[in-house]
Symmetry: C2
Subunit: 342 residues, 2 copies
Amino acid sequence: MSDRVILSVDAMGGDFGPRITLPASLSALRRYPFLTIHLIGDKPELERRLKKQRLPLSVVSRLVLVHAPDAVPMDEKPSLAIRNRQQSSMAMAVRLVSEGEVDACVSAGNTGALMAFGRLVLKMQPGIDRPAIITSVPTQSGHCYMLDLGANVDCTPENLLQFAIMGSVMAETVDGIARPTVGLLNVGEESIKGSELVRMANELILQQEGLNYIGYIEGSDVFSGKADVVVCDGFVGNIALKSCEGLTRLITKKVRHSFTKNMYRRFLAMLAQPVLREIQAQMDPSKRNGATMLGLQGIVMKSHGGADRKGFGYALDQAISEVRQNVPQKVSDRLASFVNTH
Amino acid sequence: MSDRVILSVDAMGGDFGPRITLPASLSALRRYPFLTIHLIGDKPELERRLKKQRLPLSVVSRLVLVHAPDAVPMDEKPSLAIRNRQQSSMAMAVRLVSEGEVDACVSAGNTGALMAFGRLVLKMQPGIDRPAIITSVPTQSGHCYMLDLGANVDCTPENLLQFAIMGSVMAETVDGIARPTVGLLNVGEESIKGSELVRMANELILQQEGLNYIGYIEGSDVFSGKADVVVCDGFVGNIALKSCEGLTRLITKKVRHSFTKNMYRRFLAMLAQPVLREIQAQMDPSKRNGATMLGLQGIVMKSHGGADRKGFGYALDQAISEVRQNVPQKVSDRLASFVNTH
């Protein structure tokens, strides 16, 4: 019983909807015998697609199709979604979390709408105003957490302070780091530099007790391991991380090109294939898919809208891992020990 | 005569000052027989360092040491630098451009102060309020221009519009692209997304005639070649590009690690060395060092503060290339054809 994990999946979310979410869900059910998925969306379409698959009973019996008469378009304003899309696959997926029917929900849909439904339905952790999208990023020494990655494009200094606290709590409770170092992303390390927002946030974070704040860090230090937690607003975080993904794709392409220029190089590539694969696997951005909306009273996992089957599968894995680690409860317990930030 | 290029170099700028700027300048003088450099800084120190080198007369005769009694600290506020550092190596380097003594100046110093001196001494191009740092970025199809990369951390929509115009003019005049595509960096491609700044800038750019504006692009498309010009504010641009540099370093390290795990792999690495070197050379961030402050009536080349000898050398190369291409004049001619943006 305690080992079982139940997820709700917004089948209609993302750029590809059920074309990706259905097979990715089935594949996860095959991988994890302890897993049950409530797949929420246009039931006739889901059933039609399901028929094409040959599935063992052991998998089908753990898949629950739930009909949602509506879906949130990717380009809809969050305020409109909240008003008009209560019967959408996304809203229903989030509601199942609040009702205790499932342990976590996963969606590749409209980020703003997902955040809005999360706040409305699940409510925020005490002392936190807005959820932040957080993910782990590889560094020279292991990994760090970076937040916010796009839930909040216009932030206040108070938001950034709360992100700092949540990120620190995450690194402490999930990774067991005693006093996680927290850095604020800026254009330079000198105290006179930066936007007004960042300088004001710096003042606030400096005053916050209980944080191991190391001050400003530059973009070049995100991957160096200088900080366990990297704090930024959602606009900057989203663009920085997506730029890095774009760069990874470019490098992969260049490497492939360099290794296929002539016969001799193709032969080398064959020999070096295990090494090249190993490197590529470490760098694969789709492996980093799946980012939590931290600060909600429940687990809402956001997948890239453009994620492929494998990528969406990683987001499901992430959700399972957070359920197993009981992340929201741990964060909530530890948050209570910080002085109220309001 | 017309082939000669004369640069002024702020010898005291950057994290390492003359330790980097002097040898990099000497090396450039050796590479380019047509080059003359005015090296500006603490003359006694420069002379002392110069004595240690054995130099042919053909090089020494093209190096002019100019004494500057002062230097701009890396963490000084631009407004203070403007008031108190008129006798600094940086201010003097910029003044030589305005006086027509040199064709361009190069500095690795305090970005804000360099921009402030540029605006004060060289003045802006008509219709442009603030300089933008622009650099070329590798893409799948070649390269694109990205601006601003850190000259302006707090931007207005009008600033972003002017960056779009300047970037477009740069791609048109330097690369000969007929109608360069211009994209505005945002967290999503949908029109409802983005910060307030970006949405307001989008409206403005849409109304601007003469631009081939393709709307929002995401971070993941910076390196895809979707746009010839990528426009963003200096805070986002700086962090995105520096994050990418950090990632490149991480990947380089991982590749090295993967190729040295055991004897067989080390043997492979030896065989593959030409390929690996080729890839590394293409990705080397220091090769991309040197970014112009576009919008000034004169060439001011900004090097990374932390650039090494090789990196600073690339910034010198860049300056020479822009002098040769007569970039500011071309930009100024073409800018005049745009409707006044004020």
